[in-house]
């Protein structure tokens, strides 16, 4: 989209060579004004405010004095916060590779003209429109000690006692990532299928003439051509997992103990209720922003060097 957008700008500037009709000053204002007012109020002011508050001891009900870097030095020593950071990155390390690999495999699988594949595609993409909070409620029941998964595992005598998917501190985080994968695969597979459909069949046909098998052609001919899309999915998934909130908040409430408390769950606990520390929460927000920017930046660098 970025590339499309910039090429769009170029199209317009070439139009500028023609004498363009001048509008009165209030015409552009009429068009951009309404959205601009909302963006100033609910986007630019809060963003600027976050940068200011992070250096004060303001509470969420008001007040506050400039305290310099006090919030950040406190944050640096806050083990609960750094544990949440570690957990969030662990979440990312588990979920992102699984999401990327599964979406790619699923996309290759359903990118076919076989009868019925259209129905399978529709079903496969459908979770992307389902509200995550409700999915989370469903999976809470699903993964409970008497939920469907345990019922099946016990019914087939694979395990004798229910697996504590949500009650075991180590297992809980892993279980949550699976919810993220179940929901996320839908969108990422859709994007990958769209990319696969734009791959020209000529190279594949050439490979076929050379006698390369289907798997060989898919891995060495087709997939390299959609590398840009694969990298983009990895970036999108990384940023999405850095922001993960709904799954832990709804399914485990951050528990058991604090074993699934992510950055945003911690932020939620620190700065939402009236009377909590808005300054400190703003400092957390800025660190989260820095993480998101670094991940975007690193991914951008990788995608630049990976480009042929």
């Amino acid at each position: 989209m970025t590339a499309v957008a910039t090429s769009g700008v170029r199209v317009r500037t070439s139009h500028k060579a023609k004498p363009q009709r001048k509008h009165r000053w209030y015409v552009p204002l009429f068009f951009i004004g309404p959205a601009l007012i909302l963006q100033i109020t609910f986007l630019f002011v809060p963003l600027a405010n976050t940068f200011v508050l992070a250096f004060t001891n303001a509470s969420t009900i008001g007040g506050g004095r400039f305290t310099g870097l006090a919030n950040f030095s406190e944050l640096l020593a806050d083990t609960a916060f750094w544990n949440a950071v570690g957990r969030t990155f662990l979440y990312m390390l588990i979920a992102v590779p699984v999401l990327t690999i599964m979406s790619t495999c699923l996309a290759v699988l359903v990118n076919t003209r076989l009868r019925g594949s259209g129905v399978v595609r529709s079903l496969l993409f459908s979770p992307m429109v389902l509200p995550l909070a409700v999915i989370a409620v469903v999976f809470q029941y699903l993964l409970n000690s008497d939920g469907l998964v345990n019922q099946v595992l016990q019914g087939l005598h694979i395990v004798s006692a229910p697996v504590p998917f949500l009650n075991d501190p180590t297992l809980a985080l892993l279980s949550l990532t699976m919810v993220t994968v179940w929901k996320g695969c839908a969108l990422y597979t859709l994007i990958t299928v769209a990319a696969l459909q734009n791959v020209s069949p000529e190279l594949d046909e050439a490979g076929q003439l050379d006698g390369a098998g289907w798997l060989r052609r898919t891995i060495s001919v087709t997939l390299p051509q959609i590398r840009g899309t694969t990298i983009m999915i990895t970036i999108l998934a990384s940023i999405a997992t850095l922001r993960v909130f709904t799954e832990p908040f709804v399914i485990t409430g951050g528990g058991p103990g604090d074993s699934t408390e992510t950055i945003v769950v911690y932020l939620f606990q620190k700065g939402i209720a009236p009377g909590t520390d808005a300054g400190y929460a703003s400092a957390i927000s800025l660190v989260l922003f820095a993480f998101v920017l670094s991940v975007s930046g690193i991914s951008w660098l990788i995608s630049r060097t990976a480009r042929p």
């Binding site: 989209m1 970025t2 769009g8 700008v9 139009h15 009709r21 509008h23 552009p28 009429f30 068009f31 951009i32 309404p34 959205a35 909302l38 963006q39 109020t41 609910f42 986007l43 809060p46 963003l47 405010n49 976050t50 508050l53 076919t112 076989l114 019925g116 496969l124 993409f125 459908s126 429109v129 389902l130 509200p131 995550l132 909070a133 409700v134 989370a136 409620v137 469903v138 029941y141 008497d146 469907l148 019922q151 099946v152 016990q154 019914g155 179940w182 994007i191 983009m232 999108l236 940023i239 922001r243 709904t246 709804v250 945003v264 939402i272 927000s285 989260l288 922003f289 998101v292 975007s296």
Partner: protein, 271 residues
Amino acid sequence: MKEKLIRWPLMVLAAGTVLAPLLWQVTMALKSSGESTVGFPGTLLPKHPTFENFATAFTEIPLLRYVGNSLQIAGFGMVTNLVLATLTGYALARIPFRGRALYTTVLLATAVLPFEVILVSTLLVSRGLHLNDTLVGVVLPQAVSIVSIFVMRQAFIRIPGELGEAADMDGAGPLQVFWHIMLPSVRGSLAVIAVLGFLDSWDHFIWPLVSLSDPAKYPVNVGVQYLSGTFSADQRVISAAAIVVMLPPLLVYFLMQKQVFRGLAEGALKG
């Protein structure tokens, strides 16, 4: 033939993994209150299918009110998104003004800003404007999506320039050109952002959760997770409620697949 043998079982497995949790919710919701919620495979299917859980969900838990709230929020959000994204997209595409390139860049740049980063400050702004705990306050901060603005900008850029110039010659004002010539040419994209706006509003979770303190104003998804935690939860009733929440977006998805795919793909590409 060999392709079929490999692809078919795998596709069935994939579709089954998506369907299983949803179908399980349906069987759960149809179980009568005397039936066990556990027991595979014996009691997986309801022995005496009943709709009483749906009736309970609508009468004994405030699901009907939640649905009403959600419809208001999603409807209002859909309209604001349609109007604001179309106006802004049009200006970015076809109305030259000073700072347009800068504004376009700034809007694109905000795509890397996660809402969670400004959550606390937005809450303070909202409290300052006394919009807290109101449905309007839920909609306004996310009233226009940047994705929709750029979907519309692309749509207006694609219209050939001669179309507007001819109308200019005939002495039509900028508003007339916009309304009578430009808008009818982008009907397809309007449908895309209408669908996108509805689905987005239906899915928004963290903002309604923090900005509303009165549970009576909760939209469905906040309400259902709230009930599953506090209501001495009857799993059958919660499952019925979950199905009610998932039906509208699924319906929109299956009826408007073309629009959903276009919108979500373009949105995802922008991030």
